[in-house]
Subunit: 310 residues, 2 copies
């Protein structure tokens, strides 16, 4: 089954087009977790990474039955070097074991032979002698296509071979995304030119719901642009960052969905994984060991907020 | 001292504007190396990674006095997961110990808070409690600025704090780079728009030779575009991929240098690190243990080829 169909089925089952951004920072993690690892490993990247993994597992345990997917942001782990990347890989593995779709937010990009190496790592397999290894556990990854189709084709080949998917950056959620993305080419902005390429790359991957396994990243913070992209990219599923902490509202991102209420999955990171730090969620848990109940409630609240508008 | 001045001094000392692309593939590595590790670790990513590191050290030992810099391509290591990334880190450390400037070809990109995490990893430091750690050993890294200045500012902050540099993708060497990069905005191509941003980002980093620590990636395979970029980016140093195996010729890339013969460093990967597999270099070494003498000769030949045209 195409991975996009699996994702949409999971969204329908949970009734929740929310993806939990697993982008932990040390200050989000309750002290009972961090102190344990600082005691054991000192104030080291290893302790930080172990605490992040423990934290993520708690979050995953508490949300895995009510959301379809998680999106770990690899930069937050790469920051801590090899130890951090080990925690990243184990986070992805654990989420997959718990039945979640894993969207690796890696935004990799390069020319063809190099993109092939990235794709071997993140979607496909690496080969040593006759043996094959999957070093990372991803269902989808995000990619940056500034280099054009040469850098995308190797990922498409692995999407085909291993039933995987990608989300290509079209219009990102950050304030200055327009510096390049909004430039006009004969009246058409670059993000729309990128959108047309993404539609084309997805042609061979369209599934039973009419969407392809080649999706696009479209920020919730730019509703006008998202509306336009929804019109010109009818077969492209959107991964929508920017909800909540970055300022994107449910009303704004409703345009990312089609008339049947499908077509997008909305990410929230801080709003969910750091919910236990907000006054609004203090009553969800009595003890720091239950902090992730706040994340669970935040997922339910986000679901209700999104469904109100879709 | 600004890192760009250190790089230009090293180029002047060696008389060689060549950067050795350390992008190993298993089939480049002599069997006496790979077999040793397969015997010890089986056909595993660990064996592959150990062989790559050994191979790189041999190359570095044989070229470190005649080239200014190396550019390991992280994708080639990431392909082998954690083991590969360990080999990447050790390769960078070893090259730095041998006095080489290390350009990490990582092409990372993201929104601001995430770009900050990447920059902590690759140029700056990560913090755990009061402790600080440098997880990767880089003087420069390559970055992709499709997301605009939000994703670049954190790297600039670390360039300032730690005397580091970046090379931002402007016009890449791959055949289809024009799909986005050549689109015209009121007659000006996107790569030139990107070039103007890069010049601006580099304003505060201009050193004694008139070039800044914020450089640009400009492919040798597109001489017309490179010529134009040299004119409109007078303070921007170019990292030039595409020489040799990708088809770029010394005559074509002379336009990347200014009238004083500075302004660019030219990458070759396969042409140097796989030189021992070419008939032309068979006479450089008598025994597989000396295979890297071919790489040394290839660096000298490349120097002569470039200096003929600059």
């Amino acid at each position: 089954m195409l991975i996009i169909d699996k994702l949409i089925k999971k969204i329908n089952e949970t009734g929740n087009p929310t993806v939990v951004g697993l982008d932990p920072r040390l200050n989000y993690i309750p002290e009972y977790i961090t102190e344990k690892y600082y005691d054991k490993y000192g104030y080291t990247p290893k302790a930080a990474a172990k605490a992040m993994l423990k934290f993520n597992k708690k979050i995953i345990d508490n949300v895995c039955d009510i959301v379809p997917a998680v999106k770990p942001q690899i930069a937050m782990y790469e920051r801590y070097g090899i130890d951090g990347l080990k925690a990243y890989i184990k986070t992805c593995e654990y989420a997959a074991e718990k039945g979640l779709i894993v969207i690796g937010d890696i935004k990799r990009s390069d020319i063809s032979s190099t993109a092939e190496a990235y794709s071997d790592a993140h979607l496909g397999k690496c080969r040593v002698g006759e043996n094959e290894f999957s070093c990372f556990t991803h269902d989808f990854v995000t990619v940056n296509a500034y280099l054009g189709s040469d850098g995308i084709t190797p990922f498409l080949d692995d999407c085909r071979a291993y039933e995987k998917g990608i989300f290509v950056l079209a219009k990102t959620s950050n304030p200055h995304s327009g510096e390049i993305q909004d430039l006009l080419v004969d009246g058409t902005p670059i993000y729309e030119k990128m959108g047309a390429l993404i539609e084309k790359w997805g042609e061979d991957f369209v599934g039973e719901y009419g969407f392809s396994s080649v999706g696009a990243v479209v920020g919730a913070t730019h509703p006008q642009q998202a509306k336009r992209l929804r019109e010109v990219m009818p077969h492209t599923f959107f991964l929508v960052p920017g909800y909540g902490a970055q300022g994107g509202k449910a009303e704004d991102l409703a345009v990312c969905f089609d008339k049947n209420g499908i077509g997008a999955i909305v990410n929230s990171s801080r709003g969910i994984i750091a919910a236990h730090m907000k006054d609004q969620y203090k009553d969800c848990f009595s003890d720091d060991k239950d902090f992730a109940l706040a994340a669970r409630q935040a997922c339910i609240d986000m679901k209700n907020d999104l469904r109100r508008c879709i």
